[in-house]
């Protein structure tokens, strides 16, 4: 979304004309190829997808389109062709191995659907849909939508409302108009905050927001809390609507969304006994920018869940030896995965099975054969919500740092990781000095403010890779991956000095406070058996012993406790 400037590239108009011709020619040829794919699909479906020559021709056409459509700015057409190419190729290969059987009908139904999807896509496309644009020197959409995870844009909001943003590691851009937006925001932001009163004045806003990648979360504010206003906000694509709000509400919501966005691409686990279909689904989701893995046998699924940590499970309802319902129940038994969304793939005839699956906690049914777009949008949607929920349960509401349980889980994981990679790891336990006195004399409100101030300072002075947790009350756990203990002591001591130098504003005037800290560490490159006695719990105990030393030594200091 760069500013349209008169001529960013010498001869762009001339080139643009030539590009237009190439796109026109591609489009005309694609229509012819679409007709041929249509005819091939009809013939193949009539004879059970057996005719080798037709299969080879379909493979060739799909292969060619998969390459050319994407290069010419028809990304979705390219992806559809790529999915068709993949399944046709797999079917041909499996035929070569002499394999037939029950799964074969499901695969050919899937192949036929993909061929029809591609034909429809070609026929409904227009040359002007190409995203190739020389004037703007943008790359075609094949790279997928990109957003800037640090940028938050507000539209029509009172300026300065979000002045206190040091809590979050983000860049705020306040804009007044859509033109202003296009000029000042190079990449789509992670969050767009829209004032509903502004939205009412700007009729083109809906289209504008629709063109943003789906990774951008829209937050609507203002207006009034009625059904009508809520519907209006929904039409803008808002995930959250806050009719009445203040700066603190907004910061809370923004920090939650930013936290989710830093969790990387959505992870999807697929459980499907047919390897060809499993491979296809995985490829479709991967091409849409997700991390996807598949299992063809449910037996190792519990181990797989804990190593891959998916946001959503997509499972076949029908598997040899187990029903999807049984697998769902087995997963739900373990408390850790009780809220994992499970989407079942099923044929329409499986109505009885579907009802049973609902009882075991199915979240959605995807009909087989699967429409690629449907698969992608259901997976993304469930993953988003599952992340939002998980993020909420992992965080302490006052500071948005990780809560006690989550911090200890992270410590566990980092210890395992450090031992495996033989990298150093440090942990620090921080406790505010004389905090009880603050609470008793100044009230809880000031106490909360102190806690939030320290959390904010920690965020601004520590690295993104460091894991910050609040272990309840005035105690904090900081995990510093890849950091030897002596370095961690320096970092925490800097933080201590900065906190002590920071006057904290209260209704009764500024306060100067301090904290004590215990630091411990696991050296890098230790022999496995030597380090194996050291787990997260003993690391935590060492840090706690260090904290005790620091308190006994007179407070406002950092004490190291080596392993």
């Amino acid at each position: 979304m760069s500013t349209p400037s008169p001529s960013p590239l010498p001869g762009a108009n001339l080139l643009g004309g030539r590009l237009g011709n190439i796109v026109q020619s591609f489009h005309a040829n694609a229509l012819l190829q679409g007709d041929e794919i249509d005819a091939l699909e009809t013939r193949l479906s009539a004879d059970g997808w057996r005719e080798a020559e037709d299969l080879a021709r379909l493979d060739h056409l799909a292969h060619k389109l998969a390459g050319s459509a994407g290069s010419l700015g028809f990304t979705t057409m390219g992806r559809d062709a790529s999915a068709l190419e993949m399944i046709v190729r797999l079917i041909v290969r499996r035929r070569g191995d002499g394999e037939t059987g029950l799964g074969a009908a499901e695969r050919t139904a899937q192949a036929a659907l993909l061929a029809r999807v591609l034909v429809d896509r070609i026929r409904s496309s227009r040359p002007e849909d190409s995203t190739l644009d020389l004037e703007r020197l943008e790359s075609p959409g094949s790279d997928g939508p990109r957003i800037d995870p640090k940028v938050v844009v507000t539209l029509g909001l009172e300026p300065g409302l979000l002045a206190d943003l040091s809590l979050l590691d983000i860049i705020l851009v306040e804009v007044e108009t859509l033109v202003d937006w296009a000029g000042r925001v190079p990449l789509p932001p992670v969050v767009a905050v829209i004032d509903m009163n502004f939205a009412n004045r700007e009729p083109t806003l809906i289209q504008f927001l629709r063109d943003l990648p789906r990774e951008t979360t829209i937050l609507a504010v203002g207006g009034s809390d009625t059904f009508l206003w809520r519907v209006r906000a929904a039409r803008l694509g808002a995930r959250t609507y806050l009719p009445h709000y203040d700066a603190k509400d907004l910061l809370d919501h923004i920090s939650r969304i930013v936290g989710e966005s830093r969790m990387g691409p959505a992870r999807v686990l697929i459980l499907e006994d047919d390897e060809i279909l499993a491979t296809l689904y995985t490829a479709i989701l991967t091409e849409a920018g997700m991390e996807a893995e598949f299992l063809t046998d449910p037996t190792p699924i519990l181990d797989h869940l804990s190593t891959f940590e998916p946001d959503v499970l997509i499972s076949d309802l029908h598997m040899p030896g187990y029903s999807g319902t049984e697998v769902a129940a087995a997963i739900r038994h373990g408390g850790q995965w009780a809220t994992l969304p499970i989407v079942f793939l099923s044929r329409e005839q499986d109505l009885k099975l579907q009802i049973a699956a609902l009882a075991s906690g199915a979240d959605f049914f995807l009909p087989k054969p699967i429409l690629p777009e449907f698969l992608v949008s259901v997976a993304l949607d469930r993953a988003d919500r599952s992340r939002a929920l998980r993020n909420m349960t992992l965080r302490d509401p006052l500071t948005h740092l990780y809560n006690h349980t989550a911090s200890l889980d992270f410590l566990d994981r980092e210890v395992t990781r450090a031992r495996r990679g033989r990298t150093p790891l440090s942990a620090a336990l921080i406790d505010l000095d004389h905090f009880k006195k603050v609470n008793d004399t100044q009230g809880h409100h000031t106490g909360d403010h102190v806690i939030q101030t320290l959390a904010r300072l920690m965020r601004s002075r520590l690295r993104m890779a460091d894991i910050l947790g609040r272990c309840g009350g005035e105690e904090f756990l900081i995990i510093l991956p890849n950091t030897p203990m002596d370095r961690a002591v320096e970092v925490i001591d800097d933080l201590r000095r900065a906190f002590h130098a920071l006057p904290i504003e209260t209704p009764n005037g500024p306060l100067t406070l301090s904290f004590s800290a215990g630091v411990t560490g696991l050296p890098g490159g230790v022999a496995t058996d030597e380090a194996s006695s050291l787990d997260a719990r003993s690391l935590f105990k060492l840090a706690d012993a260090g904290l005790y030393d620091a308190k006994r030594g007179g407070r406002n200091r950092v004490a190291a406790k080596s392993f």
Partner: protein, 127 residues
């Protein structure tokens, strides 16, 4: 530019892909190019224009890109290098790096805006 290939021969059976690749390399990238749709045309083009780099689509209509490349390499006096263009899934790539004159792989779909840059980078790695 100094150090660029003298001429890039683009081989693809799809005329639209040829056109977009030429636009990307010549008009946007400023490289000298010529084009061929079949192995036969490629041999003629190479003999006529003296290309020193070939951008070779692996999957031609009724021909294997690898075979065409071998024929070109056998015909040619003088140094000749190749960059292969593969499908997105790149199933056919095994052992391509053992082909004589191999410089690299470009996968389809490619970004026309960055293709010339990729080609120059590969060209810079030749022994």
């Amino acid at each position: 530019m100094d150090g660029d290939p003298r001429q890039v021969l683009i081989v693809d059976d799809d005329p639209d892909m040829l056109a977009i690749a030429q636009l990307a390399l010549a008009d946007i990238g400023g490289l000298a190019t010529c084009a061929a749709q079949t192995g036969g045309e490629a041999l003629v083009a190479r003999a006529t224009h003296g290309a020193d780099l070939v951008l070779m689509d692996l999957c031609l209509d009724r021909e294997e890109g690898k075979d065409v490349w071998r024929a070109l390499k056998a015909q040619a006096p003088g140094p000749l290098h190749v960059i292969f263009v593969t499908g997105a899934r790149a199933e056919e790539v095994s052992d391509l790096d053992r082909e004589p004159g191999f410089l690299g792989l470009v996968s389809k779909p490619f970004n026309p805006m960055g293709l010339a840059e990729d080609i120059r980078r590969f060209w810079g790695t030749r022994a």
